[in-house]
Symmetry: C2
Subunit: 336 residues, 2 copies
């Protein structure tokens, strides 16, 4: 009885063709157990002849585990995250895992829905790169005992690897102060993840107080609305602000543009420090001084944490890894 509807060949077809049981074919394919050279050869020949390809779905179903890792990212359009995803994917691949990407555009509902889809597919674990709101989703994941690692940020509830935010902001602010800037402002954008933004802003404020700097109201740059930004930026410049610490490089770039439009060229009239260390900020024409995060290390440590969590005790206390940020001084900052 041939019930095959011209679909792909299965392990049974291979078994039939090579005259062995499907168990033996399975053994050959997995390279495990003991199988005599002759049989192995016959099976492999049959595999080639039929163009057999193991069905990972069936395998994962019976094994009760998958080799898929979900990556949830807020904005793949941000080169920092794109690069991070790329590195994570490379690390995952090196460990036999495949990544599923979910881009959320920073929207809570999309995020929840995308995570659901990933969990339905029984991903072995989840990498959260940047997400929205109050992170309530993490509680749910922890409750469900899903291995999760937060990368490029930290969270006490789960394994995470990020940069020492206060230290990073300190590098930026101290650099500005040393250059003689006394009136500073913090610039961010709605695309910056909420918690990260809060931590960075808090550090900024504390530091300004400590160092006795004047501190302007925080600047929120709506992306794609340069005119609106210009109004705010102009006001700050008129108030005498000369040093800007941005929440991330993308915001810093927008700020740079705006400053020059309102007649405060960088670095002559204003200095700007970014955060993240996107590659292209190093272009001579941009020359953004920035606090760089160790991307490669973050990706490899993050994936390692996740894999260890997957293999190990789900109840083990979460680990937080703090890496050192590094200030890259370029031409967007100068003496006042």
């Amino acid at each position: 009885m041939s019930r095959r509807l011209a679909g792909r060949p299965t392990i049974v077809d291979v078994a039939r063709l090579s005259g062995v049981s499907k168990s033996t074919v399975s053994n050959v394919i997995r390279g495990s157990a003991t199988v005599s050279p002759g049989v192995r050869e016959r099976v492999e020949a049959a595999v080639r002849e039929l163009g057999y390809r193991p069905n990972a779905l069936a395998r994962q179903l019976v094994q009760q585990r998958t080799s898929t890792i979900g990556v949830v990212v807020g904005d793949l359009g941000n080169p920092f995250y794109a690069e991070l995803v790329k590195l994570l994917e490379r690390n995952a691949d090196a460990n036999g895992y495949t990544t599923m990407i979910a881009n959320t555009d920073g929207q809570l509902e999309r995020e929840a829905a995308r995570v659901e889809a990933l969990l339905d597919r029984r991903v072995a674990g989840l990498v959260m790169l940047q997400f929205s709101g109050e992170r309530t989703i993490l509680d749910q994941l922890v409750a469900e005992r899903i291995p999760v690692v937060v990368v490029s940020s930290t969270d006490p509830r789960v394994d995470s690897v990020g940069v020492d935010e206060s230290e990073g902001i300190a590098l930026a602010v101290q650099h500005l102060v040393r250059l003689g800037h006394r009136s500073l402002a913090y610039a961010t954008s709605p695309l910056v993840e909420e918690r990260t933004n809060r931590v960075r802003y808090d550090s900024f404020r504390t530091l300004c107080d400590e160092l006795g700097c004047l501190q302007a109201a925080p600047l929120v740059l709506a992306p794609l609305v340069p005119a609106a930004a210009d109004v705010l930026v102009r006001r700050l410049v008129e108030e005498g602000v000369t040093g800007f610490a941005a929440a991330n490089d993308v915001a810093a770039l927008a700020l740079l543009e705006s400053l020059e439009r309102v007649g405060a060229p960088v670095p002559q009239r204003a200095s700007v420090v970014g955060f993240d260390g996107i590659g292209l900020t190093g272009l001579a024409r941009i020359g953004l001084t920035t606090v760089a995060q160790p991307l490669e290390e973050m990706a490899s440590v993050g994936l390692r944490l996740l894999l260890e969590r997957i293999a190990g005790d789900p109840e083990a206390p979460p680990r937080q890894m703090l890496l050192e940020p590094r200030l890259i001084v370029r031409t967007s900052t100068a003496e006042r």
Copy 2:
């Protein structure tokens, strides 16, 4: 007999708790068939109580199809592709599909291995964004009847959507010629996909001949080796080349840097036109004149082609969609 090893609850657990058969639970979950309101309610309550989550693996196994789309990309670090992936993911999600990303770093072996992994997982279809070598992999995919769409390039063997390359190069070259540049060079980098590069370069040559331009040897910019690039660039400048058409924006950016390092500021001494239309080339400090590809349209058309292929006749003749490129004139080009 409770053989459950504290794993996730299954449809059987839900059935037991709500006192119906697993078939009924299945009906409730899929929202299909006729289920009385009372039973539906009971089942839904049980689902909530147990925290039941359908297993997509099992479903896909029995249904013989998945809702996963594989995306193969050469370099996620290139913002053009990152953006494209993001848009593709958004389109896929809107159609109930999840994307699996495979980044190949442009390496043939990695590409083959990653595609294998995707096929083992029985992806419903594949989006090829940028890939290496002679594309032999396409023949294999076609032979296996895997739905494939090539995006941002074209290939007669499969559905594809790209930009009219000759037209794009023509826009660039004509723009340069109109500005008075008569001695032109084509600049590329090893990261540019081979076929794309060849098509663009061929168009460039043909056009130069037609328009009677002097044409220098093609310039290949190794990334991360600025010194080596500078030598080549300096030579071209000394030969009198003033107009440069780049294979893509990333190469154009590298070229811009190099030109200024060797004392040929852009646009005073040299003009550069890019290709792709990466967002950040629009920064005032960069101001790269470039041939923009319609990203959004490419992503939506590409995904539509793929979904239609998945749903439709696998043997239907492949369709090629050619979109119109658009020249964005900025400040990297000027009269000679």
